[in-house]
Each structure stands twice: as structure tokens, then as C-alpha cells.
């Protein structure tokens, strides 16, 4: 804010040499503002386009039938995304169950235990984990985890368990990075105070530093949730794509995103519009998640 005001005052104080120069100054300011406005326009256009196509389709199918219908069978004209929503939610929950505890513990290690020489090795490795394209995760899941689950636990291997595991690994870097940053942002005096009161290192970390970094950690978890929620390329290969309510960890599932990716290539007519409606539902979920993150950030300030 200070920067901007200094800059503004100075710019106003500097008398433009000519009218052309002044016009250029104002013209470029408008160009910069338009560039910023493109962000707003993009969100609005995406929103409007999705809903223009989705709303009539949902109207034709019936809101209740669409949102809560348990049968997705485009061939028979049944477009209920109930199973898909449940599939998405259980897959995301599974990913969080796998990813959050491990991620938080690793963040603690990185922030408090890791010696410098080891940090120089660990950090790049975690960055690589963050950089691996999702399609590679999916293929790894398909070639390694699916056969493993099939041989050890039975079933086809294309299961909720496989999906949750791969998604859990995928959200690890997000959770580790953001929690580590927020743990490091807690004043060191909290930690020292706890130690001085006789707490062990672990007690100081888990009872003092963790609560102090809570809002950052919650943000990390929610960002991980958002990533798992919308992930497509990895999930579509390993989830089995069976649109049924899963009853066990070894059942195949189908998520909203994998449903779109699977069928968009050949869908026509109402089927295609229904898939766009699925994307709109995903979009709404992500809007809610983004809102929660922004509220958390505001609270922190």
C-alpha cells in the first residue's frame, strides 16, 4: 500500500513533458487495468458458459433426479449423479485420510527436526513429488498399485483404496509445503517458552506450535482437498469407473471428473449437456472451497 501511494504521488508530481506523454501514461494505465480486469472477465465467462449449458440440461432431467438420482445410464436416459458425487466424496475423504496425517508429520520433520544437509536432499525430492504430472501418477497406480491391491486384497484392484492411496500421495506435497511454511511462521519464542516450562520437544511442537499454526494447517488441508477433488487424469485410469455406491474399500468407484473425462469424447445431445452440468457441479464445489480458504485467510489477518 505504501509503495503504491508513494508511486502515485510521485507520478502526479512529475509534470509530463508533453500532452502526448500524458496520454501515453493514461493509456498504458488503462491497458494495465484491462489486463487485471481480464481475470474478473475470465471467471464470469467460465461461470456463465457452464451454467448457460448446465441449467437447461438439469431442468430437462429434473433437479432432484439429477442431483440425487442413483443411476447414471446415458443409454437409458438416466442422468443421476448421486453415485458420482458419493464416489468423489469418498475418494477425496480417502485421500485426506492417507495424505493429511503423513503430510503433517513430514511437515513437522521438515520444520523442526531436519538437519541442514538432509533438508537440501529432502526439499528437492518433495518438489519432484509435486512436479510429477498427474498422468504419470495414474499410470504408476495402474501398473503397480492396482495389481498389488488385486493380489493382496482381492477384487479387480481398480478400487476406492487404490484411488485414495494415489490421491493421498498426490496431495502430500501441497500439505507438506503449506504446513511447513505456517509452522515456520510461528514465533520461535513460543517453542522456547514451552521448552523452558519443561515440555519435551515433541510436546512443545504438538501442543504449542501446532495450535499456533492452526489456520495455516487448515488451509493446507483444504487446498489438498481441492486438489484431490478435481483431480482427473490420475483417477480416470485407476478408479474403475463403475457408477455404483461403493460398499467396501475394494469396490470400484466413479468420480464426477472421471465421468466427464471418460464420456465427453463420444457424448451427444442431452448426455453431453449432462456432462457439462457435472462440470458445473464441480465448479460450484470448488467455489465453496475457495470461499472457505479466503475466509480463513481473512480471519488470520
Amino acid at each position: 500500500m505504501r509503495q503504491a501511494s508513494i508511486a502515485n504521488n510521485a507520478a502526479e508530481a512529475a509534470i509530463p513533458v508533453s500532452r502526448r506523454a500524458a496520454a501515453r501514461e493514461i493509456g498504458m494505465k488503462v491497458v494495465f487495468a484491462v489486463a487485471a480486469a481480464i481475470f474478473i472477465a475470465a471467471v464470469i465467462v467460465i461461470c456463465v458458459y457452464l451454467f448457460i449449458r448446465a441449467v437447461p440440461a438439469v431442468g430437462e432431467i429434473g433437479v432432484i433426479e439429477f442431483l440425487f438420482g442413483g443411476v447414471w445410464a446415458p443409454g437409458k436416459g438416466a442422468y443421476g449423479i448421486g453415485t458420482l458425487v458419493v464416489g468423489t466424496i469418498v475418494a477425496t475423504a480417502g485421500a485426506l485420510i492417507v495424505g493429511v496425517p503423513v503430510g503433517l508429520l513430514v511437515a513437522v520433520f521438515m520444520a523442526f527436526y531436519c538437519p541442514k544437509w538432509l533438508y537440501k536432499i529432502c526439499k528437492p525430492l518433495l518438489n519432484i513429488l509435486a512436479g510429477i504430472p498427474s498422468i504419470v501418477y495414474g499410470y504408476f497406480g495402474l501398473q503397480v498399485i492396482v495389481p498389488f491391491v488385486r493380489d493382496t486384497f482381492g477384487g479387480t484392484g481398480f478400487s476406492l483404496l487404490t484411488t485414495a492411496f494415489i490421491l493421498g500421495v498426490m496431495i502430500l506435497p501441497t500439505i507438506i509445503n503449506i504446513s511447513e511454511t505456517s509452522l515456520r511462521a510461528v514465533p520461535k519464542s513460543y517453542y522456547e517458552g514451552a521448552l523452558a516450562l519443561g515440555a519435551t520437544k515433541e510436546r512443545a511442537i504438538f501442543r504449542t506450535m501446532f495450535p499456533a499454526a492452526a489456520s495455516g494447517i487448515v488451509t493446507a488441508v483444504i487446498l489438498g482437498l481441492g486438489r484431490a477433488f478435481g483431480e482427473t487424469a490420475a483417477v480416470v485410469i485407476i478408479c474403475g469407473n463403475v457408477a455404483k455406491f461403493p460398499t467396501s474399500l475394494l469396490d470400484s468407484i466413479r468420480t464426477l471428473s472421471s465421468n466427464i473425462a471418460n464420456e465427453l469424447g463420444y457424448a451427444e445431445g442431452l448426455h453431453r449437456e449432462a456432462l457439462i452440468a457435472c462440470a458445473a457441479v464441480l465448479f460450484v464445489f470448488i467455489l465453496i472451497i475457495t470461499t472457505i480458504i479466503m475466509l480463513l485467510r481473512r480471519k488470520k489477518r
Partner: protein, 308 residues
């Protein structure tokens, strides 16, 4: 000969307490023996870290073991044929899409960041809305971008499945990343640079283009390179915008369709068991590319930090 300790009233015997920075391993072990919960906590932290590192190494080693033997001259052949399944054309497509989308997103993202940092006050309602919009854009899943790109660029603009449509979809996806990194870089430029420039009689525009942007360049470039990594790794936003033609050709123009490396890998996987090795080979190339790109971005970004 131990010295007799005489405790006066109110005093506590502290002679057995070892200062925390002089604790030996045995002292620590003894402390842990008294506090099983702390020991368990410590063990869990170590365990989780070992699991994570093992997981990273497992994935990397496995992918390389499977993929490297298939990195033959055939798979890098200049022309794609059903016999060699060359990935070179799709690599070219990836770079084409990356080039176009980085130019588009770069210009818009950098200009927007300049507006946010140099012109607007952060209490401005417009700025707040732009921030909310950027946050929203960065959260939207790639499949939603894909479906939007298909509806907007492919159908409404009539571009058909084309590299251009894919590139614009990717540009949209990268906007928030580029704006955020550029903003950080601009804010890292000391105010004295601006004041000095104004004091020498430079106008605002000249200050921005001649002083601020050049000083912030490493940060901006590092953001753009991160964006490049994003394009290389993206699949779902491109399948339905740039096309997923299995017979990979060199695009004659940006209006032709063509698949990128990731989409090529996706197609190979969907073919079933026939092309397992080739898909692993593509995976190796993808990981190497992304790691290289991110490494370069970090290297350039660190250079900026050292300067000020």
C-alpha cells in the same frame, strides 16, 4: 569428591538438570524413557518422513527402470509411424502450445501484476475483486478448464480442436500463477529504485519499463518457467481442446489439432497393453522435463533473492 549441596528454603536442587544444548544422546534417551508419548510422537514423525521419501524414490526408480530401456532411437524418430510410436511430434506440439500460452498469459499476467502493485491501492474494491478472481481461477480443476475451452474456444470461436484452442485454455489456467509470481517479484524491488527514478524526472511508465520490470526480471522469468512446467504436465485441459489424435503429426499451423506428450501418454494407456513400454518412456521424458524446468525456475528465482 562431590560437593555437599546446601538448600536454603525455597531453593530447588537443579544440579541434575542438563542444559538442553549440552544433552548427550544418553540424556535424550533417558528423557524419552520418561515420556513415552513424546517418544511415540518422535517415532511417528520419523516414520512418516521415511515413508514419504521411500515413496518418492520408489516412484522415480520404478518409472526410470521401466522407461529407460524403451528410450530407443525409434521413439525419438522424426516422423511418427505405427511401428516406431515416436513421441517427438507430440513433444513439438507441447512446446508449441507452451510457447503460445506463455506469451498470452505472460503479457496479461505481468500487466495485471503491474496494475496491482504499481497503480492500485490495495484497499481498492477492484483490486480485491481481481484477487478473488485469481484465487478462484487457480482453484478450478483442469477438467473444468478443458470443458470450458471446448465450449468456448473450440465450438464458439470455431477454432475446432486446435493447438491454439489448447494454448488459450492453458493460458487461462496459468494466469493466476504468473500474476502471483510477478507481483511477488515487483514487491521485492526496493522503493528506493522507484524514488530514484522519479527524482531523475522519469515518468511512471518509463520507471516501470526501464527500472522496475528489469529489476524484477528474474522473479518474473522464474514464474513463467514454472508455468511452462505446468503446461508440460497438464493432460485433461488439453484432451478436448487440442485434440487427442492418435496418429501424431507435426502441426502445419496452430489451427491444426495435435496431442501433447501427456495426452499422447493418455492415448497410449487407453490403447491397453500394447504400448506399456512406450508409455513408460513418455513418463520418463515427462518427469525429466518437469524436474529440469522446475530446477531452472528455482535457480533463477534464488538469484533474485540474493540480489537484494
Amino acid at each position: 569428591m562431590a560437593k555437599e549441596i546446601v538448600l536454603r528454603e525455597g531453593e530447588v536442587d537443579v544440579s541434575h538438570i542438563v542444559p538442553i544444548n549440552r544433552q548427550s544422546f544418553a540424556d535424550k534417551a533417558r528423557a524419552y524413557a520418561h515420556k513415552p508419548c513424546s517418544l511415540i510422537g518422535f517415532a511417528l514423525v520419523l516414520l512418516a518422513t521415511l515413508i514419504t521419501l521411500a515413496m518418492v524414490l520408489w516412484i522415480l526408480v520404478y518409472v526410470f527402470m521401466q522407461g529407460v530401456p524403451h528410450l530407443t532411437a525409434d521413439i525419438f524418430a522424426v516422423r511418427w509411424t505405427p511401428e516406431n510410436m515416436s513421441m517427438l511430434p507430440s513433444l513439438v506440439n507441447t512446446l508449441t502450445i507452451a510457447g503460445i500460452s506463455l506469451v498470452v498469459a505472460g503479457v496479461v499476467g505481468i500487466f495485471a501484476a503491474v496494475f496491482m502493485v504499481e497503480y492500485a491501492k490495495s484497499t481498492n474494491i477492484f483490486v480485491k475483486i481481481v484477487r478473488v478472481a485469481a484465487e478462484t481461477l487457480s482453484g478450478i480443476p483442469s477438467i473444468v478448464y478443458g470443458i470450458f475451452g471446448m465450449m468456448f474456444f473450440v465450438e464458439l470461436c470455431g477454432w475446432g480442436n486446435s493447438l491454439l484452442g489448447g494454448a488459450f485454455t492453458m493460458a487461462l489456467m496459468m494466469l493466476p500463477l504468473i500474476m502471483r509470481t510477478t507481483e511477488e517479484a515487483l514487491r521485492a524491488v526496493p522503493d528506493s529504485f522507484r524514488e530514484g527514478s522519479f527524482a531523475l524526472g522519469a515518468g511512471k511508465l518509463r520507471t516501470i519499463f526501464r527500472i522496475i520490470l528489469p529489476s524484477a526480471m528474474p522473479g518474473i522469468v522464474s514464474g513463467i518457467i514454472l508455468g511452462l512446467g505446468r503446461v508440460v504436465g497438464e493432460t485433461m485441459a488439453l484432451v478436448y481442446t487440442a485434440g487427442s489424435a492418435f496418429n501424431v503429426r507435426y502441426p502445419a499451423s496452430p489451427m491444426n489439432q495435435g496431442c501433447t506428450l501427456t495426452v499422447y501418454m493418455y492415448s497410449l494407456i487407453n490403447e491397453g497393453n500394447e504400448y506399456i513400454g512406450q508409455a513408460w518412456a513418455v513418463a520418463v521424458v515427462l518427469i525429466v522435463l518437469v524436474v529440469l524446468i522446475n530446477g531452472v525456475a528455482e535457480f533463477i528465482g534464488n538469484k533474485l533473492k540474493k540480489e537484494y
